[in-house]
Amino acid sequence: MTTYDIFFSILGVLCAASGLAAVTTRHLMHAALWLTVCLATLAGCYLVLGAELVALVQLLVYVGAIVVLVLFALMLTRAPIGRSHDHDTPLLQRAVALVIAGSAAVLLGAVLITGVRDGTVQVHGGSTNALARMLFTSWVWPFELLSLLLLIALVGALAMSRSLVPARATRRTGEDS
């Protein structure tokens, strides 16, 4: 067992535990903060695995932008301090969610265990250079299409929010993204 293994195990356990805490806590803002811990420790897992760029981008995009937006939205609408039962789900929904999550975990675990049955798998391509080369050669079109999709979503969201202003309600534009 190397140092990397130990760090990976610690970060993995932290990640799973904080993810669990995020969905079980009754404090609304604590859920968002546990999600931050979860995403940050996931970045740590990437870092231990040698994918430096992915780890830092994960930190930059998820912790720096997405979680901040989630916190912003919560603070702007409703962020009570202490426990709140406004967002409790029915028992049936929880049971179904548990079953789905459990079966997804079993499926993923089975695929991984059968896939790498005989020991370790050598992975090439985690480094920044290799990733950049792949991104700008064979994957350049999917990458650009994805950014176009995001742009369409952005413009669509803008159009939707503008059309809800009463003065502009008659100018509702059709958007489908």
Binding site: M29, H30, A40, L59, V67, V68, M75, A79
Partner: protein, 319 residues
């Protein structure tokens, strides 16, 4: 055991720099602001021109009572100041003072600085929300809106420097630097300086802590040492932004006799940007919230995109 000792030594150096440089910036601010406003500033603590004023302030802060409001979310409230400190401490660790003089030589150090800066943002939001105070909450909201907006031009400007050098490493970027960059990367440097100042919520971008309307924004309920930690994080932020900009735009340790006094050049260039950031505070009134957003989205983002096009054209034409 020698590697372990080396790690401890490097961490200790970063910690000392982290504790000394912000005090230096703070004292410069005191004195500069005083002289620009035709007064003396602190003159008594320590004897010579009040050099120990900030040390005395620190001692004062440690003596104050540490109060956690009844309505606050206690664990989050207590944790929030630590995050800002940790983020700038981690950022300071990757700033090179020479070709080999860097505490943690990681290859993606520019991305690292931007990424760990995000942790401090979360700390500010936690402070604003967990105080259980409406002024703190409004301050936190303003912080979030401002930080998300200015993150975009900051990252675009940083991307321009990375493109020009062909690397994410601050050491490689400083190596790739030529005097030509002073003109070529000028719009990017301006965007980085302005967006960096806004990320630190320094005046004139201090709408989140606007003291005449929000008491002290997200830090309203903090007292004693925890409040001092927020202040330390703010000045450490100035140090980090200035030093990163010195490495990106002014070539870091490059200068006459850089084999002997390379670190001195980094500090001098960083100090130059720190003084500009302080000067901005003394010269401009606070921007209103809508003006803040206007500067970010209509001023800085187009300028940063223009810089990216300029950099790309330069890189394609010269290689």
């Amino acid at each position: 055991m020698s590697t372990f000792g080396e790690v401890v030594l490097r961490s200790l150096c970063v910690l000392i720099a982290f504790l000394v440089l912000p005090l230096l910036v703070g004292q410069t601010e005191h004195k500069l602001m005083a002289h620009m406003q035709g007064r003396l500033g602190p003159m008594y603590a320590g004897g010579f021109h009040g050099w120990a004023q900030l040390v005395a302030d620190g001692v004062k802060f440690t003596q104050k009572e540490d109060i956690v409001p009844l309505a606050a979310d206690k664990p989050v409230f207590r944790l929030a100041p630590a995050l800002g400190i940790v983020s700038y401490l981690l950022a300071l660790a990757v700033i090179p003072f020479g070709p080999h003089l860097v505490a943690a030589g990681i290859t993606g150090s520019l991305l690292w600085v931007l990424a760990v800066g995000a942790i401090g943002t979360v700390g500010t939001l936690m402070a604003g929300w967990s105080s259980g105070n409406k002024y703190a909450l409004i301050g936190g909201l303003r912080s979030a809106a401002q930080l998300v907006s200015y993150e975009v031009p900051l990252i675009l400007a940083a991307a321009s420097f990375a493109m020009a050098a062909g690397s994410f490493s601050l050491v490689s970027i400083a190596h790739a630097w030529t005097p030509w960059w002073l003109l070529w990367q000028l719009p990017g440097a301006i965007v980085f300086l302005v967006a960096g100042t806004a990320e630190l919520q320094r005046p004139p971008f201090d709408m989140p802590v606007a003291d005449s309307e929000l008491v002290m924004g997200p830090w309203t309920e903090y007292t004693g040492l925890r409040f001092a930690l927020f202040l330390l994080a703010e000045y450490a932020g100035i140090v980090v932004v200035s030093l990163v900009l010195a490495v990106l735009y002014l070539g870091g340790w490059t200068g006459p006799f850089d084999h002997q006094i390379g670190p001195f050049w980094v500090l001098l260039k960083g100090f130059f940007f720190a003084v500009i950031i302080l000067w901005m505070r003394m010269s401009w009134p606070r921007l209103r919230e809508d003006q803040l957003q206007r500067v970010a989205w209509l001023g800085l983002v187009p300028l940063a995109l223009l810089q990216i096009v300029l950099t790309a054209a330069g890189v394609v034409l010269t290689t």
